[in-house]
Symmetry: C2
């Protein structure tokens, strides 16, 4: 029974930064090799970043990906890493060069995994199951692979698979069982959603059972626009035992020794141009057999032996799971940090009102970037309460961020002197003057503007377009109001636990929320209590429940009608809203695509 | 050889307005029946509007669609139209009620066509080919149908098909040949793109040849968010002759008598629960045979005879094609009108600078809504030239729109007195003050704000976010600058030809474009000549060409690098931009999905 020391490189990559991502592979491969690893696996689309979206339609991009892959193979060998098998994701295309303007777009483009060894691309595999739901549009982009690639290396048959292959029964894992492999390497770019880690482990166990083989699952970390990847890489044996598991939202190499079944018989020496073998359907598992269980199997002999293991056994260990609030907080911090740094910003600016939303954004920003890169601006009007200013100043003192004050009344008065405005127009004017101030500071000093609206507000349109919605990124976009409070309490308690000062003033957490756009205004003038509102919104948005379902669930019919109507008519605001980190099963953005022009009214 | 009088109802529908769309079907069915029509075909998704996007995931919506269909069948009979076959598109689902939260989203939902007769839903067909490219995401939404429905009516076998079924060889049209049908009814929601009508006719001819049958193609008209549907319904005989063709962008009934082959043998009396017949693969055409040529055929006997024809033959006629500029102008006018009216606005407001973009938007808005529903605001600054104000006033006089002036300097000065701003921050401040003024007027008076940026500006980010980009709709979003000028010249010449006053001042067309945000500024300070810029942009955006392709096409390498970089880094602005009517093969919006965070730089 051969032993293979495997390293799962749970690392960050950046969309489009092919040279930087390749350099990252070389750096982590070196580190893994120094720890004796014989096979190092990197995430899906490691070289290109994920998701690349319509970049895939540009041939120059696909060619750059292929060129980078081959150069990486050579560079690894030049680095003295030619004896280490490196599995890495990239985008490929059929034929010598892809052709544009196909009748069927995406045709010929492949979401690919390659095994590099000895300076060469020894084997490639094309993702078979393409997700086309939620935030995923992979039927738009890729053609599915129809054969499983099995590489013999160190006496073990290793199957290559990619991400969604794991989420559906049949296909590659069934083929892996037929091929009798010892190890399935599954490379992922699997975005975070609350509690997704609870789903992954049983899923990997089911696939390990289906394949009858150990499964090595490696996932990306890092933020990419609205998505954040949480890592959670793991190794599960054929019998369903969790052998090793990496942390969440952490960059790390998970290195573990695996005793794997000997491939046995004489290897099929097909080299780098393997012949397709017919599938043996009588070996496929009964329960989950599907039409695509007839995937062909391509066998490749790596033709090389791994470096011998000299030191004692490597044990990856099983990292503790963090709790829900910590998970979400980590996602929001990493999502913001990567948006800022990958887009070349040095600092952020936002309006700090003393309310809960901007207070939590301030704490996230300070955790993500450090207080010296965070600028918060208090922009009081005549309607701003004294406690608001005090709470904002208190937060600034607690966190040490750059705090400024820009009273808006002179600018508001200039508009009021020249235009005849009343009611809502005056309320919105104040929010828009604040937006102009933040954008002026951004233009003058180079900060990225953050907007601080939460998911509940975005859902019901409780915001001013081009006012408080101004900003390039919204950390709370997918965080309902009730969760904002929960996160604030958790962050403060966590600080206390660690002997640090809680960043968020208690008063910002406990006082009734108000937009302070007219005297004595509170959110409950226009909205139900947030506990009630968020329950309705979760049903309607995340659950696609209709009016009758919501009423049957015990909600007040008139309230349901009011809330649903508010959600429906606010679509135009959401269409122009800033991106923000997805943490729920259905975030606004590409996850939920609704027409603006839409006369459907539930229950009418 | 039976004669069938067919009516193609090229009409408008509104997403989500199920009662209104059903009423529309009843009204046009009545009108067609009054002209003796025996079969009336309405567009794809007529009852729900198209595209419904993620509304399809809400069971309450799908149920409303099904309920509306059955009520419509009964209502038509109650209207005395039970003897007229009505073909209509709607959304359906498998089983008595769809279930939410499927493992595979979209599972069980169907893009469906139904034939209504005698108060009943006599037959249904589920779209087989699902487009998942460009603006389409139908693999996300629908499960493909796998059988062709053939209805015997008036001695003719009529096959039902939907939209994309026509755009791909094999499948339903091949099955229609095997089934020996006399007529294929193809219902569409096919969005406008420049010259798409030139593609449709040969396509319909190819499918008519493939099916060996007459094809009746009916398409929607009207605007839906970023899409506009252009009609262009037509009938083509099996031998490829164009028998009748409706106009472009016009609501109309195209009524035409068809002599169709007798179905011959005794009808298969399977009634409303037809048995699937095996396909006869030896009858499929050789050249375009595909794997899905084995679609099953479901035969339904309508069990009814059409009303006899009393009057002389109905001849639909062949409408003239309009030229490119007229086509685009019609698309922009209809797209704007439907966005305004379907969203319940009465009027629009925008900034009228005297430049070409806002002048063309003014002309489009007046054509769409009438001058009395169009408010244009001149918002001069210290940098605005006298000719700008003159040109704006001249346009107002020519068109008769509501013209106002709001000088911005007092508000700009209020910001400058309170913030330390210079350079670009001051330029953008002026644009943002204008945005605040327009939004204040919108809030105060209820107008929809239009933004007037063109596609070239949007491409290179030559605009101020939350400044001149403010607005709920952008008529020129997909119109490159050079085409803006061309449209202006065409619109003026067309007015002259019709003996009317040209709406656009000649000076707005001929003067060098300028944002007038600093003294003496012209666009060419920052951008190449628009002829050169638009050529590069068309290659890069519409054609997905890379840097090397563009240089090989003769463009200056340094200029290509500069333009491509501008396009790449402006993605964050486009993500928050207003919707606008698509007229090109690739519009910004859902047609082109690029990451904001993207370090890929062509040629680096």
């Amino acid at each position: 029974m051969p032993t293979l020391r495997i390293a799962l490189a749970q690392v960050n990559s950046t969309v489009g930064d092919l040279p930087g991502n390749a350099a990252s592979v070389r750096r982590f491969a070196r580190e893994a090799a120094d720890a004796g690893a014989q096979l190092v696996a990197f995430p899906e689309m490691m070289l290109t970043g994920y998701p690349i979206e319509d970049l895939v339609f540009r041939n120059s991009f696909v060619e750059a990906s292929r060129r980078t892959l081959h150069r990486l193979a050579a560079d690894l060998a030049a680095d003295g890493l030619g004896e280490v098998a490196v599995v890495v994701g990239y985008v490929d295309a059929d034929g010598p060069a892809p052709t544009s303007a196909d009748a069927v777009p995406g045709s010929g483009r492949r979401d690919a995994s390659a095994l590099l060894l000895g300076g060469e691309v020894v084997a490639t595999y094309y993702k078979h199951h393409l997700p086309n739901y939620g935030v995923f549009d992979e039927n738009r982009y890729f053609e599915p692979g129809d054969s499983l690639t099995v590489v013999r290396y160190g006496g073990v048959d290793v199957a290559l698979t990619v991400c969604e292959d794991l989420w559906q029964a049949g296909g590659p894992f069934a083929a892996a069982r037929r091929a009798g492999v010892g190890l399935v390497v599954n490379i992922n770019a699997s975005p975070y959603e609350l509690n997704k880690d609870d789903v992954r482990l049983p899923l990997v166990k089911r696939r390990a059972a289906e394949a009858g083989a150990t499964v090595a699952y490696v996932n990306l970390i890092g933020g990419q626009d609205e998505l954040v990847f949480d890592g959670d890489s793991m190794i599960v044996s054929a019998d369903g035992s969790l052998l090793a598991r990496a942390g969440q939202f952490t960059a790390e190499l998970l290195i573990h020794d695996l005793d794997l079944p000997d491939a046995g018989e004489e290897p099929n020496r097909a080299g780098t141009a393997p012949a397709a073998l017919p599938a043996k359907s009588d070996e496929s598992p009964g329960g989950e057999q599907r039409a695509d269980d007839d995937m062909a199997i391509r066998r490749v002999d790596s033709g090389r032996r791994p470096r011998p293991l000299h030191d004692g056994p490597a044990v990856g260990g099983i990292a503790d799971r963090i709790n829900d609030e910590a998970e979400i907080w980590s996602a929001l911090v990493l999502g913001l940090r990567d948006y800022v740094t990958k887009n070349g910003f040095r600092s952020v600016v936002f309006g700090l009102s003393g309310g809960i939303d901007s207070a939590v954004v301030a704490a996230i920003a300070v955790d993500a970037l450090g207080a010296e890169r965070v600028v918060a601006v208090s922009m009081p009007s005549g309607y701003s309460s004294a406690h608001s200013r005090d709470d904002a100043a208190d937060l600034a003192k607690r966190t040490g961020l750059d705090y400024r004050s820009e009273p808006i009344q002179p600018m508001v008065d200039a508009f009021l002197a020249n235009l005849s405005l009343s009611g809502l127009a005056v309320e919105n004017l104040q929010a828009r003057v604040r937006g102009v101030i933040l954008m002026a500071l951004s233009n003058q000093e180079g900060h990225l503007v953050l907007t601080t609206g939460n998911k509940s507000e975005l859902a019901v349109g409780y915001s001013t377009l081009y006012g408080d919605s101004v900003g390039g990124f919204n950390p709370l976009k997918d965080v309902p109001k009730t969760l904002v409070w929960k996160l604030a309490r958790w962050r403060n308690a966590d600080a206390t636990r660690r002997g640090q000062e809680p960043p968020i003033p208690e008063n910002s957490i406990t006082k009734p929320p108000s937009a302070e756009l007219r005297p004595g205004q509170v959110d409950t003038d226009s909205l139900p209590d947030y506990e009630v509102l968020d329950a309705i919104l979760t049903g309607y948005i995340d659950g696609d429940l209709g009016r009758d379902d919501l009423v049957a669930a015990g909600h007040d019919p008139a309230l349901v009608d009011k809330v649903l109507r508010m959600v429906d008519i606010a679509e135009y605001k959401r269409r122009q809203s800033a991106p923000g980190t997805k943490i729920s099963i259905k975030a606004f953005g590409r996850d939920r695509r609704l027409p603006i022009t839409n006369r459907f009214r539930e229950g009418v």
